[in-house]
Symmetry: C2
Subunit: 509 residues, 2 copies
Amino acid sequence: MRLTQGIVRAAMVRGKGTAIIDGAQSFTWAEVADRVPRLAAVLRAHGLTEGGRVVLLAHNSHWSIEAFYAAFYAGGVMVPLNFRLSEQDLAVQVADCQPDVLLLGPDFLHLGEGLRAAAGGTARVLAVDETLGALTRAAEPIADAMRGGDDLACIYYTSGTTSAAKGVMLSHANFMVNTLNVSHTLELGEQTVHMHHGPLFHLAAGARLFSVTQAAGTHVFLPRFQAGEVLAEIGRSGVTHLTVVPTMLRTLLDDPALASTDLSSLRYLSYGSAPMPEPLLREALERLPHVRFIQSYGMTELSPVATMLDWEDHLPSPRSSALLKSAGKPVATVEIAVIAPDGTHLPTGSHGEIAVRGPTVMMGYWNRPDLTQATIRNGWLHTGDIGFIDDEGYLTIADRLKDMIITGGENVFSQEVEQALSTHPAVSQCAVFGLPDAKWGEAVHAVVTLHAGAETSSAELVAHCRDLLAHYKCPRSVDIRTAPMPLSGSNKIQKSDLRAEILASRADA
Amino acid sequence: MRLTQGIVRAAMVRGKGTAIIDGAQSFTWAEVADRVPRLAAVLRAHGLTEGGRVVLLAHNSHWSIEAFYAAFYAGGVMVPLNFRLSEQDLAVQVADCQPDVLLLGPDFLHLGEGLRAAAGGTARVLAVDETLGALTRAAEPIADAMRGGDDLACIYYTSGTTSAAKGVMLSHANFMVNTLNVSHTLELGEQTVHMHHGPLFHLAAGARLFSVTQAAGTHVFLPRFQAGEVLAEIGRSGVTHLTVVPTMLRTLLDDPALASTDLSSLRYLSYGSAPMPEPLLREALERLPHVRFIQSYGMTELSPVATMLDWEDHLPSPRSSALLKSAGKPVATVEIAVIAPDGTHLPTGSHGEIAVRGPTVMMGYWNRPDLTQATIRNGWLHTGDIGFIDDEGYLTIADRLKDMIITGGENVFSQEVEQALSTHPAVSQCAVFGLPDAKWGEAVHAVVTLHAGAETSSAELVAHCRDLLAHYKCPRSVDIRTAPMPLSGSNKIQKSDLRAEILASRADA
């Protein structure tokens, strides 16, 4: 099970078909299969060793996928970095993974010297631009290094909103099994045209590099998520598959171009990475009736998919309300358990920490055996999510363990409060978390942004929650925010930033 | 990647759903998940050791699948034997695999003492009947031995029509990856109701034990293939998936009950294991228009599927003629090459030996490192089939390497001649092979059986071939046979037996 086999297979079964569309450029699978061994030769010539790391810091382009496969082909390990991080954060990650080669996009070349120094001064910098194109065309192709199975393929540094970034080690087998797990539900095939607009350094978006290649489909690259561009490109390239986080879906639905764009090619919209507000999902289902919606739940440490809610479960039915709140069922090879703090496995219906076992569980954290041991216990990867499984195997996530609020001795799941707030017609986005409180330990606090032109008050929002939730779960305070929410690299609302803002303003006061 | 995870998952996502239908008996997945650890305890109590073998010699029943999973659960290796073999052949295989436990169906209990002796006298015999049911119900469940990945799961003795039987070793990962490779194309899911009528000791039929379990579908068991029973059971149990070899398809189409049977539940008919005569396939497509036809090509040594021709490729199109002759494209993880006798990889369109690489290639032959080395060379498993790959990745099998006839210095693919003969309206089944010939080295010989009531002559059949084939490919002699064709355990026509009959009759003459 080596990832480069996907390229060989795609060239065999769809050699003349389009592999990549990147603006005005496009490549067939035969061309990609010709280019990858040449780019691999360039990486080798620039010092890449067997098992050595290749850092990629660039906006999405055809080079993104070519760099991944060329690194594997040359016997290397791909480390895609988050271009939204500060230079200092990037330097910490580069110092941690000690790459042989740094592939830097045009917008990041100025970081080259600093990152080279962080890598110890021996790494070589390659610009991801026309120079690399010329080098690739001129290079003699090399033979596949044939890394596969349990060999390390990639390191992904997780955004780590509350702790230092950690390098998740994933093997060729991890990715291949994930691909096989999801392809059936996503109905990937040679006709698939998949858009990559999300940051590929996040595996929720990045894993599709592998699954769409294995299906011999077509990759469409946009440099970044921009709603108007995404909508236009769907029509232009005949995109069949799109994957979004909830905030992106909101932006797409709010874009005035939506009504006038031809989205007839779009058959599948998958979503995940953050809790989906149910009203948003229902609105999307109603406004895009020809699209099959699929939810994925997982995390980088799981390569990344653990459960999926398939498109049939999104169709109207008496059970819709429960199903749309759930994250679906475990995919083929995944085993899920709900575990109590003392390690006991809990029965159907009980809340506890979600744990996962099986061939998509990561190899571990790079250079962090301590963290690996703390996360994978008795063979089970502990996700840090709280949830329960019903008697038909549907998993429902209640909250992040760390986002759960304990107020007056009661557990409050922040996501339940967010779901309640999001049903208010004025609310666009919201975040709920605990603030230190002398009397209650923690007090439930909400930050909301409103739809353009909408108006409401804190008191009205609290009253709205009281209609839907037990009293102790309702926010004790609500901030209506006019500035955009602070977002992580994967477009999740950064509750830790919001909380820090409030605590800082309190300290100032 | 352990196979027992499939049982755990099925019980989680479809615990109340029917797992097994076996005549009047049926079991839910919750019941199967309860019974397997108890049956595993019985196997342990009867001497099964870690990595020890469990031989199964029985007609199909609910015990078939339970015995496989219980053997894995208890840490053992399952060895399903071919009940059509002679006692002597069975003893050779038992002596080879040295089982700890012999599971014998009621029809095979009389072989117990002989097989125990062959195993060295220490093996324990368990009758697969109500005694085992009582033992299982009374046993305390044990914990899963957690064998998986590259651990040996099963040994399948291949029918070996021309050489001594060989034990193919397949791992948990081999089977799991095969399952993931085929599930998408077969559209397996929780709604799947799969009939097992074929001998499960042949992997073409037996692999569905794993894939249908992983999909949490329903297994329907018939003790053996009997056309009337198969047709009746489709209606009775709402069978959605059926898998046949070409001779079975012929029998089903010829059964008078076909016209009056409700086959509306049947959605998928997969076929393979032997070359499919194109006229038979076209007749079946026409007479069963609501059924999706899918072809699999593979062999036991490949866990077993290498390529599939999907149902869309069976639909009428300008390319039908070429597509229906092909075996489809490599499944997701499979890499295929066409190799010359000197080991060179041949280009698109060239005939050569088909070789396969990837995670579904067997671990090797039990106790036969010499044979393993001869079969897996430079990482490629050599299939012994001759064929070519077209520029869209479709593989077409021309013949078995050993069935290719060399006459007057020309290569003749026996299957091409068989396809030509099968288009004659009088021909029901046919087999073509070479007979020793003083002048030509080998001479092309055909044996045919005719449809009930049909008439033709050898001369007419030769003339029919001359209209379709180059002169040198046409049979020099044709036997019209009234007795049924000799079939192997997997219902393939035994050309070696036919050839031996003719050579014996010549020697007598």
